[in-house]
């Protein structure tokens, strides 16, 4: 696993967005800037397609846009904290914490284990709370790197 799941430059702590599409786009641009997504527009279309199947909002103010896409070079996570909240279709209101998961289309199973581990951690309230409490990108990336270990 040469490329880490997340680095501080994939974290945005003060996202302001009108809707989930705009919020997602800001995070996609972070991935594209880091060279993890080769075609921001194409990847965005894949994420939209997934979001259209079933809203990814989770209880507790979490939005979880994600997709497997040919435009992704390495399993990656971008995190956006949205103090004003943005609706991700969760039953209990808007999301203040948005995780964008990007998985390569061709990724073999071992490659994707890291994302499975991430998804499992996301269920834990303590993990989510620690990320909500973190104020700077470096802390967010550090918490995720420490907590998310493939089983």
């Amino acid at each position: 696993m040469s490329t880490p799941l997340i680095t501080p430059d994939l974290v945005a702590v003060d996202v302001v967005a009108a809707d989930r599409d705009a919020a997602t786009r800001q995070l996609i641009d972070l991935l594209a800037a880091a060279g993890r997504v080769t075609d921001a527009e194409g990847f965005h279309a894949d994420v939209r397609a997934r979001e259209a199947q079933m809203a990814t909002g989770m209880p507790g103010g979490i939005g979880l846009p994600h997709a497997r896409s040919a435009h992704v070079t390495a399993p990656s996570l971008a995190v956006g904290k949205v103090p004003g909240g943005v609706d991700f279709g969760a039953p209990d209101g808007p999301a203040t914490l948005v995780f964008l998961i990007a998985a390569p289309d061709s990724g073999d199973a071992a490659h994707l284990q890291i994302l499975a581990a991430l998804a499992r951690r996301l269920v834990h309230e303590s993990f989510r709370q620690s990320l909500k409490d973190a104020t700077d990108p470096a802390t967010v990336a550090e918490i995720i790197t420490r907590e998310v270990v493939p089983s």
Binding site: R50, R68, A70, L115, L118
Partner: protein, 506 residues
């Protein structure tokens, strides 16, 4: 209490694993051991069979079709979809516990939105077993059509016999559909009989397409449905019957599977399942059935007809045996149809005496056509252990279908296990045909089975002939099936025994 669960989601990278973790944690919180198989993009490790055997219940938190669902057969389950498991895992655990305590498989509101019809196919099984599983998938979806259509037709005959007298059973088949549309009379028993008969006939029209379609579905999943159904319908149109439907089912399934594996440009990928695969595979199936298979079947039917015409009258007992064998061979397919048409056209000859050869031929054909479904009903109730649950259920309906001369009642059995069932049916029906000729029963109704007994001369001889053929066929099929037990049946019985053990220990 112990539970097992399967989770999956469309993308296979997020919800699959969140659901798994959420269920495990929610279970832990209330002291329930939950083991989850994540059928996601990172590959899935099948649950240890021992864990499944030990589990009290199953949770399906799956938005995709659960792989190898057979493993969990017979256990109480809840089917909730992946999202509910992520959002409200404790609620799902509680529902599963309730299902286990209720002791019966119970559905839960808000079930998976992308629920797909179940198949009985285990992808890891050997070729022979998989062929049988594909057949069983088709057969299990066909059985309700056989039961509904067959019983409606039989009821139509029954009502016609009471409402229309001894000729009512003949008259009911001749009431045109336009009469039902324009002049249906609530007070007329014959109209009700015709309504039952026509509705049943329409339901019967689906037998071969459904069989073919769901064999293809078993092989290729959803892409197989369209070419399978189309192929089955073409098989009916060209008169190839259920054997033709078996051919189209397999052809359509593998064709669709093959096409769905093509590497295509990204722009085309989106329209593959909705346009390209159904279009191409249906066309090829149609081409093969109409152009390649249709003509030989037509020639076969013509050849058989003229051969029979040459034979008639020469040696009646031999003719009876031959017609009987043809009736029992493909249960509504081309060979059966030739024998039946041969008999029915004989009825149209004018100025016949009451015991004319034509009427005796009709009696032989009708008796022989009753043998296969009755024999399957007998065999499946006398030797339950040789038949699947679905077949046992179908066997109950087959009694009525057989008595009403609806040979199609045996198709589910023949489609699932063609060689043994057809061979047995061939022998028994042939004996029946010969006996009817021997005892000289004569019949002037073209259809109806026991409901037209009043029209049959020497009805006792007729019934005796049917009974002899039925016993021979049933005995043969039992012997043949005992020689090589069906692995699906064995698997079902293993599950039954487990359930009985559970029931005893609880």
């Amino acid at each position: 209490m112990k539970l097992v669960a399967v989770s999956s989601c469309p993308t296979g990278i997020a919800h699959t694993y969140m659901a798994a973790e959420a269920l495990e944690q929610a279970g832990k919180a209330v002291g329930i051991e939950v083991h989850v198989e994540t059928q996601g993009a990172a590959g899935s490790t099948p649950l240890d069979p021992q864990l499944i055997a030990d589990a009290d219940g199953v949770i399906y938190a799956a938005d995709l079709e659960v792989k190898d669902k057979d493993r969990f057969a017979g256990k109480p389950f809840v089917d909730v979809g992946v999202k509910k498991a992520v959002h409200d895992a404790p609620g799902v655990i509680a529902a599963a516990v309730a299902a286990v305590e209720a002791g019966v498989p119970a559905p839960v509101a808000g079930a998976a939105p992308i629920a797909a019809p179940a198949t009985k196919v285990d992808r890891n099984a050997g070729v022979g077993t998989r062929i049988r599983q594909w057949l069983m998938t088709g057969v299990s979806y066909m059985i309700p059509f056989v039961a509904a259509g067959g019983i409606l037709i039989a009821l139509g005959f029954m009502v016609a016999q009471f409402a229309g007298g001894s000729d009512g059973v003949i008259a009911v088949t001749k009431v045109p559909v336009s009469h039902l549309l324009n002049d249906f009379s609530v007070a007329s028993g014959m109209d009700w009989a015709a309504l039952l008969f026509q509705t049943g006939a329409v339901a019967f029209g689906f037998l071969v397409p459904v069989l073919s379609g769901f064999i293809a579905y078993g092989i290729a999943d959803r892409p197989g449905l369209v070419p399978g159904f189309v192929g089955g319908a073409v098989s009916v149109a060209v008169g190839a019957g259920f054997l033709g439907g078996l051919v189209t089912g397999f052809m359509a399934g593998f064709l669709a599977l093959w096409i769905s594996r093509w590497k295509v440009a990204k722009g085309v990928r989106g329209i593959m399942p909705v346009v390209v695969i159904p279009l191409l595979s249906s066309f090829v199936v149609g081409l093969v059935m109409f152009v390649v298979i249709g003509q030989p079947i037509a020639s076969l039917m013509d050849g058989l007809s003229s051969w029979l015409n040459g034979l008639s009258g020469s040696n009646l007992i031999l003719l009876g045996a031959l017609l009987g064998a043809m009736m029992g061979f493909d249960l509504g397919g081309p060979i059966n149809k030739v024998a039946y048409t041969f008999a029915v056209t004989g009825l149209a000859t004018e100025g016949l005496g009451t015991d004319a050869v034509q009427y005796r031929i009709m009696a032989a054909v009708m008796a022989a056509g009753m043998v296969a479904p009755l024999a399957m009903a007998l065999a499946s109730s006398a030797r339950k252990k040789l038949f699947t649950h679905a077949e046992q259920e179908n066997g109950k309906a087959a009694w009525l279908l057989g008595l009403s001369f609806i040979s199609e009642g045996a198709i589910p059995f023949a489609a699932a296990d063609p060689w043994r069932v057809i061979l047995s049916s061939l022998v028994g029906s042939s004996v029946t045909g010969a006996i009817v000729m021997g005892v000289g029963s004569a019949q002037r109704a073209p259809h109806g089975g026991v409901w037209v007994l009043p029209l049959i001369s020497n009805p006792f001889g007729f019934l005796m002939a049917v009974a002899v053929g039925m016993v021979i066929t049933a005995a043969l099929v039992v012997v043949l099936k005992s020689a090589k037990p069906n692995p699906i049946v064995q698997a079902e019985q293993a599950v039954d025994e487990q359930q009985e053990l559970v029931a005893q220990t609880v």
